[in-house]
């Protein structure tokens, strides 16, 4: 695999801007809320700029690992600080940058314990960035947990609706996932006999026996799958999303769930390709059940956030189905879907958050006719919802299309099930839109104001990303191709 070292440590700079931002926030007095928000916006803006730059500066003709930074960390254990960018993680880094920046702007109206909130968000996002860019199992695990443990406080302190229950359930579920991941990492590292945690060294063919790969892959799949909302380990996810404050829902559904899928891809599939192929049937089955289940349970929900929560389970099922096909198209579709779903859910939660802050309700029965009171806010929600049901020329369309095409070839039955479920959920989503935004309007909300330009900026950015990648999907597909074609081509 071609590797080129970085002339400037861009990747570390992204991490550093999170960490420096965190420290700057810690040293600002808690009463100076405006200053804290501005600092957060600036540092999260830097990460967005850097990740966008990397996305476009990556040389797609060469491919492989670029912007590589390697530093020996703990030689006796074989731990290296090893960051790099490739076609799989650059879309994820861009996604994180976008969602992070817009999430910070979305929380501009927060008044309660502002300092702690933004400090924890920065810590969380540092973990997410670190995980996506790292190629060392030790660091991947560290970043994984760094991104999880702020969640408890973020939900329990600033959340709503059964927040303590939701926070505890989420934390315990996700940590149970890491209880499977860590033994699997240690197991692989030890049984390789290479005394290293370096992913690239460990992924040489023949390092692990098929048996070891099968065992380890299953542990990785379940461990990371919990975070990716794989059925039947998804139950934390709707509850957690509903309980979380807006920005945390955005980051969580938009980025953290992708960590789960990305972990399966980056560690599970990279290290245990034979285990992946062995368990692919199971993955496809669970993914298909997840798609159908999420869509059907979503039908019954009356709380807008639950609606989005279950549609996330369904959409993450599509990612899982794509990964299970073991084809280039399937992988491309899955990674594209991860990106598109991240942006789309962030916009959904962001719009719902705005509506909830004004109307203080998320119940479908109580909302109504909002499009006439808040046309712009409603517009954002409707756009994101349309993207979710796969309307052409919005980003999700391409991801879903590719996954379905490739899954029809490999798993005709599961593919059909998934498409049928998606059609049902599309009908349902239209009904949600109709109920909440059209129909008779609720007089209670007559005097509410629409989105101002300042608060509109984050939503505009998200909407723009959905549209741009919907019209020019090749920007993304060319990127993912650089990683997926050599990877699938090199499979045993």
């Amino acid at each position: 695999m071609p590797t080129s070292h970085a002339d400037f440590p861009y990747l570390s700079a992204i991490l550093l801007s999170c960490i420096i931002g965190l420290f700057v926030i810690l040293f600002i007095p808690a009463e100076r809320r405006k200053a804290i928000k501005w600092v957060s916006a600036v540092f999260s803006g830097i990460t967005l700029v850097l990740s966008t730059y990397l996305f476009f500066a990556y040389d797609k003709n060469i491919g492989g690992l670029q912007f590589v930074e390697v530093l020996s960390w703990v030689p006796s254990l074989g731990i290296t600080y090893f960051n790099a960018a490739d076609g799989f993680n650059l879309p994820m880094l861009l996604l994180t940058g976008v969602v992070f920046f817009t999430a910070v702007l979305t929380m501009w109206e927060l008044e309660n314990r502002v300092k702690e909130f933004f400090a924890l968000i920065f810590l969380l996002v540092a973990g997410v960035f670190g995980l996506f860019m790292s190629f060392d199992l030790f660091f991947i695990f560290i970043w994984y947990d760094v991104s999880l443990f702020p969640m408890y406080l973020l939900i329990a302190v600033w959340g709503s609706t059964r927040k303590e229950y939701g926070a505890m359930k989420l934390t315990l579920y996700l940590l149970a996932g890491s209880a499977l991941i860590l033994p699997a990492i240690v197991y692989l590292s030890v049984s390789s006999g290479l005394n290293t945690f370096n992913l690239i060294t460990l992924m040489q063919p023949g390092t692990f026996t098929p048996y070891q790969q099968k065992v380890a892959f299953l542990l990785f799949y379940i461990g990371f799958g919990i975070l990716a909302g794989v059925w039947p380990f998804h139950t934390w996810s709707p509850v957690g999303h509903v309980a979380a404050p807006t920005a945390v829902s955005m980051i969580h559904a938009g980025v953290l769930m992708k960590i789960g899928a990305f972990g399966v891809l980056r560690i599970g599939m990279f290290l245990c390709p034979e285990g992946w192929q062995y368990w692919a049937q199971l993955m496809a089955f669970l993914a298909a059940v997840g798609i159908v289940y999420g869509a059907l349970v979503g039908l019954k929900q009356t709380d807008l956030k639950y609606v989005i929560g279950y549609s996330s389970v369904s959409h993450m099922g599509i990612v899982g189905l794509g990964l299970a096909t073991v084809t280039v198209d399937g992988l491309n579709g899955a990674v594209f879907q991860m990106f598109a779903h991240g942006v789309m859910t962030a916009l959904l939660f962001s719009s719902v958050g705005y509506i909830y802050d004004r109307t203080h309700t998320r119940m479908l029965g109580e909302l109504g006719g909002l499009s006439r009171i808040m046309p712009v806010a409603s517009g954002f929600f409707i756009l994101a919802a349309l993207a979710g049901i796969g309307v052409p020329f919005l980003a999700s369309f391409w991801g879903e299309l590719l996954v379905f095409i490739s899954s029809f070839r490999v798993y005709p039955f599961f593919g059909t099930m998934a498409v049928v479920a998606l059609v049902i959920s599309a009908l349902f989503m239209l009904r949600v839109i109709q109920k909440a935004f059209y129909g008779p309007r609720n007089d209670k909300f007559e005097n509410l104001s629409d989105v101002t330009l300042g608060l509109g900026i984050p939503r505009i950015i998200l909407a723009a990303v959905i549209v741009i990648f919907g019209i020019f999907p090749s920007i993304m597909f060319d990127m993912i191709d650089t990683a997926s074609i050599p990877f699938v081509g090199g499979l045993p």
């Binding site: 560290i142 999880l148 505890m168 209880a179």
Partner: protein, 473 residues
Amino acid sequence: MMNWLAFGSELYYFLALIVFTVMAMLPHPNPRREFTAALFLSAVGMAVCIAGVRSEGLLFAGTYSVDLYSQIFKVMLSMGVFLIICICANLDGVAKKHHAEFYLCLFTSAMAMMMLASAVHLLTIYVALELSSYSLYILVVMNRRQESGLEAGLKYFLVGVVASAVMLFGLAILYGSIRATYLSEIVQVIPAVIDQPLVIIGLLLSLGGFLFKLAVFPFHFWAPDVYQGAPNQVAAFIASASKVAAIAILVRFMAMSGGGSVYLAHALVALAIVSMTVGNLAAIVQKDFNRLMAYSSIAHAGYVLIGILCMDTAGYTSAIFYGLSLMLMKFTCFLVLVKVSTDGGSLQIDQLAGLHRRSPLLAMALMLALFGLAGIPPTIGFTGKLLVFIAAMQNGYGILVLIAMINVVISLYYYLLVVKAAYLLEPTQEQPPLAVSPAVKVLAAALVTAMIVIGIYPTHFLALVHEAARLLV
């Protein structure tokens, strides 16, 4: 000619003892003066131990070995004592006239623990262990609130004496079957006889005394009452420095047995699993922070045992590293506990309510320490667990690692409850901000930094410990 310089750190602490003996005899006790003296002496003691880290020698007719292994432990122990003295500024739990005696016993115990780290003869081991225990028995009952202190002291004493009797019996059996008392001699004889039932029984029984110190099942009954009934500073000492000393001697003793016996390993596997599970399950229902800390200590003793039962360099290294991480994390918890506790007694978890407003720094330190105890990166607690798991995996204990990880998840639940109390609960009546002196702030910040920095960059310390552990095997 004996090399007295190698015995320097113990001599230093012995001189400190004399200082406190004199102070205890002075007619007018002055807590301030005694505290200053203790702080100064323990700080210098740390410097003395660090200066002597590379000294070597075999003293007292070969019964006492000064080597890198023992010296590293002496540095950790002296650090532990210094930290404990740092939270003695308000020694509310102990009557004013007894402060000098308090320091006297604390330093005696510390000196005995240092000797334990160097003991390489069955008799020295026993004497050092008893010396450290007896001073702790006294410290536990120094609580002003007589009833709970007495009950704790009695329980501690009785379990301790039983453990020590069991150990003595084991040592006798060991001597009877091997006919050697020097560890260096035993290590040569033992591989040939390791499968004899008598030798295994002897080894297992002799472990009793050490397992008591580490609060491993079935010698754990004393821990909750002692942590609750003893003055908080003493509980902190037992939870941190005392555990390090127990690990020191346990590792040396296990290294002596050479790692040949499957039975011994299996017995320890069982003890580790039971300790982890019992400790974690019992901790869930605790309302008292001190008792919760005690049960968490029992659980952590199980994790330490996993490292030790690997009986190779990696395993011993991990156990020692784990000891350091436990010391830092437990101490941080007790630092917060001492500051929040209003009457110098044990603390209900609910009393932590509103801590995030009363002192953001202490709340953060507490949260980090608790997450560290739960083994969540990027803290030193995670690195310790990772090392333990790597060692266990290398020896084929994959299932044990899984069980340990499940325990980690259980433990996270009750640690989160404490975090919740500090960050979420609102106090029933308005509490003023905590008066935290600049010195304590610096200490808390230093602990937080140490927990994170050693956690993600353990390279140098790990290399040192690894070198020391290799000496043993």
